[in-house]
Subunit: 350 residues, 2 copies
């Protein structure tokens, strides 16, 4: 809880949100995570717990004038790399930074976990330590993923590869709650990603999901197509993690290739400063998850994942997003949403 | 056949390629198809047969100085719209432009069919009249689809939604032949679109296809990911039509949104002419199928499909692509490729 007492009209005393950060995570480790954490500290009323190799983290901290006591370091041993099998990694390295950090969240010593480390390890650790919300077999990843369409939420971005229709319905519920709370959209419009707008269009999975969504209490608007990420027809677009992951990586590659193209194309027409501004904006328009991170949906705790390639600004961006999710009580709302969905479904089944 | 005799060292006499065009197809009908056909006529040694409402087509023709006799008109009655069920449309309108045009190809009175009309109707008509190559249940669409990656071929772009692994193998074969013939790539590298490069990554369909591709004679390089459309790792990227269609439409929407963004972002930095040039280039980089069309793979005849929204330049672009396919004898090579694939598979099965 962040806000304490005010029922009698007394002024609200805002307790700082405690953010635990896997300082060893990400391609650049403590050099960027510590810097990013301190940037986050400047923008919010938070306390930061940095989990990692004590010496490395303290060396990084010593570069800055930290001043107050809002930063603490909790030591850990080892790190789980992108190339390791997540579950095996967790078993062999029980004191790894991600495990120690997740346990701090679980114990109530932190309100929010931010990780730039291996997505697989962060997920596995969250599932093991925090547990999944009822009715899910895996967590999922999602959120707005395009600067060009910052209010369009995509779920799942790659966690669940072969999805049953019931799970697709859960994505829709989680996305609807997120769009409502985080983007402040009343009754978010849910679109099912397919190859045509008619109900009969799509593969078997989509056709079966279509029926479930139609029977649900969600504001289902029917199938949407690839171009509808840009038309604003839907607030939440649902697909399985296979399609979502391909789209996300496609977009990243597209953005990078495009920035290079534009850089070359405009080299003789713009000043170097203007050119840098334009290419940076283009990159931003196409690489949103690298700048704001995204929640790990479906686990019993506030976990924010950032892109491994993030520099400090990306770490701070993920902290921003996470702090807002905590302030909004997102995890509780997501759990309520799923629980409501399940009771509706079981009523229909009865 | 386009080239006649030369075994004795005599000069090659090049017979014009006869291109039949569904003049009623596309969003703008004869106004653009006729104009585009005449543009195509200027660039190649071709004869053009325009199939459509005689009066409309002749009215359009009368706007131009056609001069020679390389253009003929074959009358048809009616047109099958995008909103019609293709097979029902063909049944109710046996003299529709697409049916008449396809029959001209079948009868040998034309070497190439170009259609900007309903993709469904063009496909259905081709399957009915020309027939499918052995081992396929449906034709497929593919080709390079990104100006940013003009030598990366994607198959299937949306014809086959639920695909068995054996069909995915056929896409790989067709793509390999196309990349070899059309893009002049020796032993094209085939990538299977998935969510990670390891063999175990991907949904069930991809995992099963992986094994088939590994056993095949194709130059299979393993799984590729969304960003690999831009890394040049593979010459041919194989996915089912569900994913391919979403990617293609996503790219179109992306390109349009991006052009708008860049137009606004650079409005104060560039002259109107330079700005128009840049946004046009950007559109071109992201909307390749609209400018060059693509072959309908797997039918027994050279059929080139263009985007419905094409203006004359797009029609001429599809003619260019088609003429090149005919000159290369693409249809025969595709048929041989599939036939070889099937004999390999049946040897393994025995």
């Amino acid at each position: 809880m962040q806000k304490v007492g005010d029922k009698g009209g007394a002024p609200i005393r805002v307790v700082p949100i405690r953010v635990v950060i896997d300082a060893m995570g990400g391609d650049y480790g403590p050099a960027e995570t510590v810097k990013g954490a301190l940037q986050g500290l400047q923008s919010h009323n938070i306390e930061v717990i940095l989990v990692g190799d004590q010496q490395q983290v303290e060396t990084e901290l010593s570069r800055y004038d930290v001043g107050n006591s809002k930063v603490s370091v909790v030591p850990s041993v080892g790190k789980i790399g992108d190339d390791e099998h997540p579950l095996e990694g967790l078993r062999h390295k029980p004191k790894s930074s991600i495990m120690v950090a997740t346990k701090l969240l679980k114990s109530g010593k932190a309100d929010l976990l931010v990780s730039m480390g291996s997505t697989g390890a962060s997920m596995a650790s969250a599932v093991l330590v925090l547990g999944l919300m009822d009715g899910l077999e895996r967590p999922c990843i999602g959120g707005p993923f395009l600067g060009l369409a910052p209010r369009t939420v995509l779920l799942d971005m790659g966690t669940n590869i072969d999805c049953r229709p019931q799970l697709m319905l859960s994505f829709a519920t989680l996305g609807s709650v997120f769009a409502h709370k985080f983007l402040d959209i009343e009754n978010p419009r849910i679109g099912l990603l397919s190859v045509g707008s008619e109900a009969a269009k799509g593969n078997r999975q989509v056709q079966e999901t279509y029926s479930l969504l139609q029977e649900s209490q969600l504001n289902f608007i029917g199938n949407v197509e690839g171009m509808d990420f840009f038309t604003g027809r839907a607030d939440v677009i649902v697909c399985d993690g296979f399609v979502g992951n391909i789209l996300m990586k496609f977009t990243e590659g597209f953005g990078t290739a495009l920035s290079r193209f534009v850089e070359k194309r405009l080299a003789s027409s713009l000043s170097p400063e203007d050119l840098a501004g334009v290419t940076s904006d283009l990159w931003q328009m196409t690489n949103m998850p690298r700048t704001m991170g995204g929640p790990l949906f479906g686990v019993n705790g506030a976990v924010m994942l950032g892109h491994g390639s993030c520099l400090a600004a990306g770490v701070a961006g993920a902290i921003n997003t996470g702090v807002r999710c905590v302030q909004l009580g997102l995890v509780d709302s997501l759990r309520e949403g799923l629980s409501q969905q399940h009771s509706e479904t079981s009523i229909r089944v009865k």
